[in-house]
Symmetry: D2
Subunit: 448 residues, 4 copies
């Protein structure tokens, strides 16, 4: 067979699959919106996604996916920024009251709210997709103009809101998983759909990546709604510029004493921490690239006339590369340690979050652009979006790329009613099914 003929047949096959997927997707469009609204109504913040995770697990189980959940996919030592047991228990009860799936919810107790569905479908590559499930600590708008409020699916959980689109991500993940079952005969390989808790504050991915769940993955995809792509029909095939970051808290413990009667007996934690703050901001700029440091909060002391015994600093470092972030982190540790010693304080550091730097593979980006351009859903197909923030998807990314796999993190356009993380945030729900179609076509392309 001539190459030209072969390509032509391929293209004919591709187009046939596109049509098949289009039809299946059309039937699922109403369902994806109802899923999204359900998740939107019951938003759950990091490590308390008891309702969401249990529903996801139940649905994947129904669809016939093998399940790995909770401690199977969450490495305990690598969880960061986990709330208190008290709060976890309270949220667990709340989730039960809000219709969590009772068959699965107990597994997640203690905040191990990760779910992975695995579909072994013959020989072929292992392809993973990551969806994040958690909401943000924002109070949702109750303006008449705010559609979730008007249509009565605004947050029932005070102070928590899906203001970053993860409700949409989770809905896409579940409908994508359902659609794949309907085209099982059209591809050959293994699919992993990864539902991650605690992306906000970059707290959850590390523990899932360290569980080994992506160690055998050949292709990995992540996707985010909105961001730079703020209109329906727009898509970015890849991203670059994720900043590596470390988020951590520092606790100084000194000794109190009466500030008038015996100040010399105190071991002043407030002064030790203030000294650390000054020196943290003075960490040298680095000629290798962009770095950042911030002490976002400081709380210290108990009373006006007492030398402060305790101080708590809330800190983050960032770097354009993981190496630059490591430089900042190492310098910060040295400064915190020596400031504590200077005032004879004890120092404890608690890791609260983290992400690596990372960029999508250009080879895979080209493949995605090719497919997206062939679909009828995207009027604007772009190569790469430069994101300035941090995403803990990078922990998965790093593992897969280290093993020679290819990774891309895509951005799916949608009109935004307000900025990310604000009370007015809302998406155009029509974008959701487009995401499903893109992912399904990617599977056909790769696992064929």
């Amino acid at each position: 067979m001539e190459l030209r003929l072969f390509v032509k047949l391929l293209l004919i096959g591709r187009d046939k699959m596109k049509e098949k997927i289009n039809k299946l997707a059309t039937k699922l469009e109403e369902k994806i919106i109802s899923y999204r609204r359900d998740f939107h109504k019951y938003p759950e913040s990091a490590w308390t996604e008891f309702r969401t995770a249990s529903k996801v697990a139940a649905r994947l189980d129904d669809l016939g996916y093998d399940l790995k959940i909770a401690k199977e996919v969450i490495d305990e030592k690598n969880r960061m920024g986990v709330p208190s047991n008290e709060l976890l228990d309270k949220e667990y009860e709340r989730a039960k009251d809000q219709g969590a799936d009772l068959e699965f919810i107990d597994e997640f107790k203690g905040g191990y709210t990760g779910v992975v569905g695995i579909l072994k479908n013959g020989e072929g590559p292992t392809i993973a997709f990551r969806f994040d499930m958690d909401a943000v600590d924002v109070e949702e708008s109750n303006s008449k103009k705010h559609i979730p409020f008007k249509k009565d699916f605004a947050s029932k959980n005070k102070g928590v809101m899906h203001a970053c689109g993860h409700d949409g991500h989770t809905a896409i993940g579940l409908i994508f998983a359902e659609l794949l079952i309907n085209i099982k005969d059209d591809f050959s390989g293994t699919i992993k759909v990864i539902f991650q808790p605690a992306e906000e504050g970059v707290r959850g991915a590390k523990s899932m990546a360290e569980s080994g769940i992506v160690d055998d993955v050949d292709y990995l995809f992540g996707l985010h709604l909105g961001m730079a792509a703020d209109s329906n029909g727009e898509v970015f095939a890849g991203t670059k510029g994720f900043l590596a970051t470390s988020k951590f808290d520092a606790y100084f413990t000194g000794a109190p004493s009466h500030a008038g009667a015996s100040p010399e007996l105190g071991k002043n934690a407030l002064l030790a921490a203030a000294n650390a703050v000054q020196n943290l901001y003075a960490i040298s700029r680095n000629s290798k690239g962009v770095t950042r440091i911030n002490v976002g909060k400081m709380n210290s002391g108990s009373g006006r006339n007492v030398i402060a015994k305790n101080a708590h600093l809330v800190i983050e470092t960032r770097g354009k590369t993981s190496a630059l972030n490591d430089y900042m982190y190492k310098r910060a540790m040295k400064i915190l340690k020596t400031s504590a010693e200077m005032y004879e304080n004890k120092l404890e550091i608690e890791a609260m979050g983290g992400a690596k730097s990372g960029k999508s593979d250009s080879k895979l980006i080209k493949r995605i652009m090719n497919i997206a351009e062939n679909l009828d859903d995207f009027s604007s197909v772009n190569k790469i979006s430069e994101l300035g923030g941090s995403e803990d998807f990078t922990y998965f990314m790093d593992k897969v790329q280290d093993n020679g796999g290819l990774v891309s993190y895509m951005v799916l356009g949608t009109e935004l009613a307000g900025d990310h993380h604000t009370a007015e945030f809302d998406i155009n729900e029509k974008s959701l099914i487009k995401g499903v179609k893109l992912l399904a076509n990617l599977v056909i392309d790769i696992a064929n």
Copy 2:
């Protein structure tokens, strides 16, 4: 008449009055204890003494004293460390529920909880006595060994307790006022009984002193239970060594910005405050005498990735003399102001308390010793107690001494069940009536 004879007659008169006072006092002993227990059961913290003040006002009114209360004796501009209106309102309602005098309570609304009773009783010197009424933020012991708990007059107000003896001071003041009415014919002059709010945190006296209430006073007395005099029958005729102090809060207001995306747009209040802290502790020692500085608390910032917009410092300075405290205060202001400017922050200072240095007049001390030694109540009459702490009685003291009057602050011994400001604090109630007798004999001695 020979001098010797004259003195003899005088002494005979004095002893007769001593006996008269003894008899009156004996009758009031039960009452003073019941007063004290009533105040102990309903402790009220600074500026919320609605129940106490209204009861004091009502009783003085009954006894025939002229009343000056609330804004008549509290200069609004000089109140310090006043709670929020919300809290004042809540405490006002609480006081009503706990049996405040409804005729008077409305006058104190807004936290103007000062009362002065005036007894004009012929020509003669004006003699003032100051009693403080407020309680401390301490949770009272519910141990069986704790007498207030066992005898059921422990605090009904959670987290508030008369753990410094002001319940006793108020009881002494009222019974003393009552006894004076019974010996009106035996002295000639004007009596002022001053009931002050908010001595804890040295917040209340300045506003009363600035109201002019002691401007015409020739003799002023203050008294404290316990302290260094920890057994019944002990008394100190005077004190010295009060440290001058300023208590104030500093509020920095800068501008927030995203710590990763645009740190240069922030005006970092946390860093400004940390810099102030370092320099506050570095204020130069002073060759003129003891000074102190403390930043007891620092709270700043809203989120890990936000340049902090606000910072709040809780500060106190002290000095062996008012001049030394002024030196510290002035340096602290300069440091706070320039630190705020350095980071383009706005700075607000809120005065939260203050006291002057001060010492009792030795002439008056001798007189008090003379009298105390002649009474049968005191087995140990001491000259002077060196107190290291601060007392806002010094504002009254300063006014009176400036006008050429004489002042003493006495310490009345009593067995203490626990240290001042601890949950186990309790006094020997037998000491209370001794205080009344001492004060009454002082009046006879001076206003004769």
Copy 3:
């Protein structure tokens, strides 16, 4: 005439001129080397170029250029980092001893060592060329391998050395000026040859630019030997990436006092400066691009037991753009000012140097490349060199570009015996005449 024919004629004309210039240059080759060696032997550091400037002035005068010198081309207020009068006087005498031109030297007294030669040669554009004349504070090598030492033209001035190639720049400038006289009939326009003092430490250009000397310039060229172009026959037609910088000294003046007897009377300049240092390094990173801050030196205090009265900080800021450097400078000023105020110190700032950011115009770069490629002198013609450092040529650049003129700063390749600013620095003298030829051909190209 057809365009093609016209271009052909033009090219023929250009080639004829190239040949003419080649011949003239060949005759001047020996002379340019002797000039360079003469300047090399008597290096003069910033603002003390009495010998060099007087010789340059005398030579330009001889050649028939109109002269503008000293205060005519140096704006007094904008000189930076000028040595003490004592040192200026000493160097003036030294220069006389070393053969300065006695007709001109007096004009430069006080350190106004700038020279501009102007050749008005008919209608046409005004084209300026800038050459820097000062040497560096480096002790020259006396190794046998070091050619200037071996051939006996090493520095006679201890601790001063032409270790950055400005001797070559000055020689190129003079020989270029001479050659132009020989081709006066071949171009039409005005030529300005600018000989600048004090480029090291970026101290001199601002004062010349502010004198107005380049206000009427249409084309401006600068050139540097060596740098990234480290072999003969290499040339860069343009540059980008000059960092904007401010170099300044801060002087704190407080009040001394005995540290044991009366520390409170001191106004501690050492502590004020230390506080400034900490906060200078803590100036926020800027999301707009690269910034730098350094306090390179601090000297403070007079004796162990004296509160320090004086402190001296040696500071520089940098920014990828002038705006970024301005941000750093403005923040630094605020910090210095408020630190001084905090300790009741007086603050004086002395500007010690500065440069802007800047990049060559791409239109002019193309023209230069075209010409250079046509010459036989350059085997490697490159577009643009990214320089990380600072050059005060940018002050001239900024003026000319602001007025709509075109500017380029070229790099002329030469083999380097050691790095710039080291004792072993030396150039390949064969490169010098190539620079002259390039400049002469540029004149022909532009002013025709």
Copy 4:
């Protein structure tokens, strides 16, 4: 024998000795003045007392004292603030030129300029006297009013001057030693005359005390001219209030790097030192008593655009007691050490001086007063002078008192032409012989 008779005989004996000493002293009066003028003319600063020490040694040897000198009485490890070898050598040569005793001078080479003369004179107590020999770094006045200048015995050593009276102390010591030889038969015991170098900057006594030279001493006397006793005929029998002090230098060594190109490679010594400075001044006040800290000098860095590699801090701590000074010193060390570590600097501390707190024994003070009052030399005999400064005599004092011995440090009145350590300082030479007489009478009193 009745006690009364015995006392009478004693008093008669005492008065006879007083007369004998008076006569001997009168003969020595001219000599003591010539000694003093000789030392005044050739002042030598700390550790360079080559001329003085060699002359003292030679004279004591002549008189028949056993000598212990140089390393026998100077413990090498405990010398502080010793000048460079270069300077020591230079001063050694200078001393030779100025008439040092050539027999002894070589022993002192390297700056071991201590001398002790021992007179074993039968059974009895061991009594030591300490005289300090060094001059101050002050330029002597050449005013006509300044007697040393007028009478031609002003300092021949530029910038060095006996502006604290140690020339007088040394003269008193030598004449006292001579007089004792003449009254050898009148007392019984061992005499040690200790001539100490480097009292200025409290650098020398520790090394002598640590050599063991006062370990067997029962009575120790020090004496100072002038101070609070500013007229001839005045004397203080004892002193109190010497501040304990530590004088030391801190050297930070980091790593340089180019501040523009690679600031992150630097280990910033200037910043480390600035941070130390801020925290040193912030060492907590101590409720136990007066403390002081000062960083008198800071020198750091090499160039504007280089991250500073070195920093040098000149520091002193003080305390009302040795324990308070130890507290300050310990806190300072912790701060210096951790500041260096924070910036990965190496830290070296060099002890530069030190003194203990101390006070004279009241038992001995009474004895001295008794004797002084019996002499005809003193019109004003005072008990105790409160000195605020530091004296390293306290190291000897501490050793002797620790072993149960008695110590006093006396102040000998004299008219002062200018304050101590000023160019106009001068004494009334008539006071000198009075000091000798007082010391001699003390020996008779104690060793009898």
